[in-house]
Structure formats: C-alpha cells, structure tokens
C-alpha cells in the first residue's frame, strides 16, 4: 500500500493513482457469492441473451466496489470514505480491462474534518467512460 496521503498535500485538479481491473467469469461468480446478488444475467450466457444482452455483464455493484477500492487505496490507512456514487451508463463485459480513475474537485475543512471531493469514473479498454461518479473522503492532517 502507498504511503499515507495528507490533506495538506493534495491539490484540486490532481488525479489520484488509477486502479486497473479485468473481471473474469470467476470473479463474477465470486461477486455473486460475496454480495448475495445471484441474478443470472451476470453468469448465465443463455439467460443474458434471452434478456436482450450480448452476454453476461459485470455487476454494477462490483464496479461500485472497484471505485471504492480505488478510493480506499488512496486514503488508507488514516483517511475514510464518506460517499461513493456512480451511474451505470454503459454495460461492461467480462474479460475486458476497466481502468478506474479519480480527480480532486474540491477540498475544504468542516470543523475538525479535512474533506476532499472527487470526480471518479471507470473507463473501458477503448477509453470510453462507462461508469461516471463522484466521491467524498476525509484525509488526516499533518498538523
């Protein structure tokens, strides 16, 4: 894990380290068990096609969790995630690379809390944003 990031050291407009994932069918099955979502469009090709889809698609909540991990890797161990939000604008298929990114949009203090807001997103291997979102985290201070 990277060294602790402190509130004083971050600047609006800066990007945070990205996170690359390539979820395969094994991970989708693991996610079904780990999240309790056993909807068949995520692992049954025939079922997915009957529902008008190209094939099984990556769970939206898994992409949300990837964005959570992106943030966790950046703020840990001393920071905390206050909000993770995303929209599912494009369907992502398994065995394709997803790159998760974030950019700082605002930083301010509220009482004793050091708050940072970010634009976050996941983009596919063609660079198309399939999962735009936003986040709020708190960071420790050097003081």
């Amino acid at each position: 894990m990277a060294d602790q990031v402190y509130f004083e050291d971050v600047e609006v407009g800066a990007e945070i380290p990205s996170l690359v994932k390539e979820p395969d069918s094994l991970q989708l099955v693991q996610w079904a068990a780990g999240s309790g979502d056993f909807y068949q469009i995520h692992y049954d090709p025939a079922f997915a096609k009957r529902n008008g889809l190209e094939g099984p698609i990556v769970h939206g909540a898994l992409k949300h969790a990837f964005l959570g991990e992106l943030l966790h890797q950046w703020v840990a161990p001393g920071g905390r995630i206050k909000r993770v939000a995303c929209s599912y604008r494009g369907m992502d298929l398994p065995n394709r690379r997803l790159t998760h990114k974030g950019k700082i949009t605002k930083k301010y203090q509220e009482g004793a809390r050091n708050i940072v807001e970010l634009e976050i997103w996941a983009e596919d291997a063609n660079g198309k944003t399939t999962t735009p979102g936003s986040a709020v985290v708190t960071l420790p201070s050097r003081a």
């Binding site: 999240s35 309790g36 529902n51 008008g52 206050k82």
Partner: protein
C-alpha cells in the same frame, strides 16, 4: 417540436405513483468476519485490514471493517427471502428492498446507479444493522438503448445501528421488457 421518440402506453398508474414515500418493513443485516472477507475477496481487495482482525485493531478499528459497499447480509430465510437477492420479500408489500420493483409490468431489471453515503464509515464485523427502504421516485420513459419503454425507480435505504443512522444506500433500478431482434 418534432421528436423521434416512439409513443408507448404508460404503465405507471396513479396507484403506483402514490407509493412514493412509502417505506418497507425493517430488515436485519448481520456484518460478520466471513461476510467481510468474502466481499473483499470478491472485489479483489489486497489490504490485510479486511482479512486479519489483529491488523484491523492495530489500525484503530473495533474489528474487521466493512469494505465500501458492504453493509452486511440480510439474514436469509428460505420462507421469506428473495431467492435471487437474499433480502426479505413480501409479495403483498408495496415496497420491499432496493432491488425489487414496486410494479412488475416489465420482466427484466438492470442497475441504473448507486450512491452510498456513510454517516459513520466505521461499520465493523459484529455490527447488526437495521434497514428500511423508501421509494423516492418512479418514472417511465423510452429507452433507445433498450428499444422500448423503461421504468426507473429510485429508493433510499437507511441503515441504522443501535437506532442511529450509519449509511444511506440510494439505488436506481431500471425495469424493461426485452424486444426480439435487439
């Protein structure tokens, strides 16, 4: 003004629209060490804080912390729970949980968005959370991508621990009916 959106027969009745604001029955969620490990493993987390209680306590947590997005599991009951999604499901209740449509004219479902806000981000193994899901909005429009009408419902599920809110899970669910040839 000219539009290329095909006309469709609206499916949302006044009766359905009156459900905005209606809340579900409470649901109990257990946050456990095995559940946290399974969720973290499935997402691909490498941080030991989600797997080793000693590491979690060294870093100031009460026990294994729940990763972002994990709010425990609904206590599964084969007599009452949703077969696919584990949450309690009462077919006669107007609102059940974030992933159940309040009306069933469309046969298939997709996730539209997820907004998880923590009031207390330190949810840990051993916690028992109580959730209630409220229908915040429901509307219908034509989807070019799905080649037909879709119903978009937004729910807000508030999770409490010891009667104090710890998180709000706001979810948008899209209902649609597959069209042959798409």
């Amino acid at each position: 003004m000219a539009t290329d959106t095909p006309a469709f027969e609206p499916s949302l009745t006044d009766e359905i629209l009156t459900l905005v604001g209606v809340e579900s029955a409470p649901c109990t969620h257990e946050v456990t060490r095995p559940g946290i490990r399974a969720f973290a493993r499935a997402a691909g987390y490498r941080d030991r804080v989600y797997y080793h209680a000693d590491e979690a306590k060294r870093r100031g947590y009460r026990d294994l912390p729940a990763p972002p997005g994990h709010l425990g599991f609904p206590a599964y009951d084969p007599e009452q729970s949703d077969y696919l999604l584990s949450w309690p499901l009462d077919p006669n209740a107007p609102v059940n949980h974030p992933f159940s449509p309040v009306q069933s004219i469309h046969t298939e479902l997709l996730a539209g968005s997820l907004d998880l806000e923590y009031i207390d981000p330190d949810i840990c193994a051993g916690d028992v959370l109580i959730s209630r899901t409220k229908l915040e909005d429901i509307r219908e429009r034509y989807s070019k991508a799905l080649n037909g009408p879709m119903v978009i419902q937004t729910t807000a599920t508030t999770f409490k621990r010891d009667d104090a809110p710890v998180a709000v899970y706001r979810f948008t669910l899209i209902g649609y009916t597959p069209v042959e040839g798409t």
